[in-house]
Symmetry: C2
Subunit: 356 residues, 2 copies
Amino acid sequence: MIKRMFIPGPVNLCENTRNSLSKQMIGHRSEDFSKLYREVTGNLRKIMFTDNRIFLSTSSGSGLMEAATRNLVQNKSLHLVNGAFSEKWFKIAKANGKKAEKLEYDWGLGIKAGDVEEQLSKEKFDAVFLTHNETSTGAMNKLEKIAKIVQDFPETMFCVDAVSSLGGVKIETDKLGIDVLLASSQKCLAIPPGLAMASVSDRAIKRASETKNRGHYFDFTEFAKYDKKAQTPSTPAIPQIYALNHKLNEILDEGLEQRFERHWEMAKLVQGWAEEEWALFAEPGYESLTVTAVENNKGLDVSELISKLEKEGFLIGNGYGKLAGRTFRIAHMGDTSLNDVNELLETINEIVEAMN
Amino acid sequence: MIKRMFIPGPVNLCENTRNSLSKQMIGHRSEDFSKLYREVTGNLRKIMFTDNRIFLSTSSGSGLMEAATRNLVQNKSLHLVNGAFSEKWFKIAKANGKKAEKLEYDWGLGIKAGDVEEQLSKEKFDAVFLTHNETSTGAMNKLEKIAKIVQDFPETMFCVDAVSSLGGVKIETDKLGIDVLLASSQKCLAIPPGLAMASVSDRAIKRASETKNRGHYFDFTEFAKYDKKAQTPSTPAIPQIYALNHKLNEILDEGLEQRFERHWEMAKLVQGWAEEEWALFAEPGYESLTVTAVENNKGLDVSELISKLEKEGFLIGNGYGKLAGRTFRIAHMGDTSLNDVNELLETINEIVEAMN
């Protein structure tokens, strides 16, 4: 049975995307590849609202999280932490021997711009790291507000993990002064995992060139060097680039505003239902537009709910880490439609009724 | 026109491999995934002749080259350098702030076991890094001889890059005491790029756990932790894992000895032809079984030869880096058959005759 995926990535692939994966290989140093590279990075620029260089990394999003840390932090970084993935970024910094500090909130809460301002005013940081959308808690941070603050500190780079929001939510990279915007393939962009992408500002590339011990595989200056030839430094995941090319054209055909609107409508539908039947885990005002964490205020056996749903052909996510059992997560991203969401919610209602 | 690829990766995909890429996604934390993971790593163990743990890295082979350096080198490493990729490994070590030394040969020559012994007897190294098959020069190192030397230095880890040999040549990992054997997907294994794999010994994992500043994305201890659950630490390149699973079963059906024999026969065919019509670039006795670098002793315009061949539907590689124009490279790996090779060589002969 083909399962309909409402886990927060990987998401279902449409038939055309699946077909695009199975095209014959080309050489990654060929003009055919460069043509593909230019088309993909050009379209990513539109979706990221940027004129910056775009790097395609054969890795998960975590790889580019490590990249941002290794390339940009010479002295000290500030991590805005309100869930598992922002905490992970902090740990990645530590694992790379960086001096990193946390501005920390309880899981589910949103980062407050005023606190960021206070922290940045107190001491100098090389970079601020923000997880736009905390996939672990269903909390989406107020990117514009935080960006406005960080822009007042021109020596501080602004790095944003948009792994689970890019392509579902408008992110105006250049307007917000984002130096590194990173994302991965298997969430709102609705292609398979295996490829991550980042827009990187010229000043971030310059900073990288002056940063010691930045390694090789994720070295921004290597990416920049090969980008000039419309190539990647290492042999890339060609099937995912084929799929991304197909999907970006489809996204631009759908229309970016329409796509963002569809994601907004799905979020409102799921969150309206969750508020009526359960409760939302995220702090009010910070509900994510791409994934909802539903608080299990009925004391239901979440694992049982998930396995019963799976038998009906729907996959949802348990709460992340310490939130397992306390919450469950419904992703509403990628190619998912309002109809799909409606069918899922009805099925959950039926199963829950039978479980009571 | 579908081009027949004789470049040293990516190689052509057979139809079944292409179809396997386009399967629907599954969750990477699901039992379905773990089942796939166990099958793939189990079969890789057979092809690598090892009982060690197998890690699947969503990266190119270069990523795992960086991994080996970051995880295993605490004080100093020895790099056996005889071409572009072994030189690259040395540079990767330097880019990660490691103290690394080179035992260096002119490009095209093979590493001599006696020199390795001399070097290891003089000072203590945490690890020795060997590129089994130098894709840049068509020289294949004598792995058994070097392994025998390194095994006499039990505190020194032995790391082997088999990117362009695994699956085409027998490598008895455990018998040779190889602590890290790394390879990538798009060469002899004949699936698309985007996935690298390594067998890693228990003592290498233990060493990693004691090595500082090893980062996150390529941290062997993270791979080991998730391997116990039959998962990868980061979201993996699922299409490539589908393809690898298909291809490994096909390889084992073909029979490993038969596959190695076919690679041997293709190498003999190409090298016999090259010796008759041109000359071989590699030192005699070190000719690679998977890729041949032909010395352009006719003073021909190699770029012109390559572009004329491409019009006939064949892709070969120019010489690597500083060898461009001086050599050209023919890969004979993956699913390529003796017939394919014969057709290529005849076409080259015809083009060269017309160019004279």
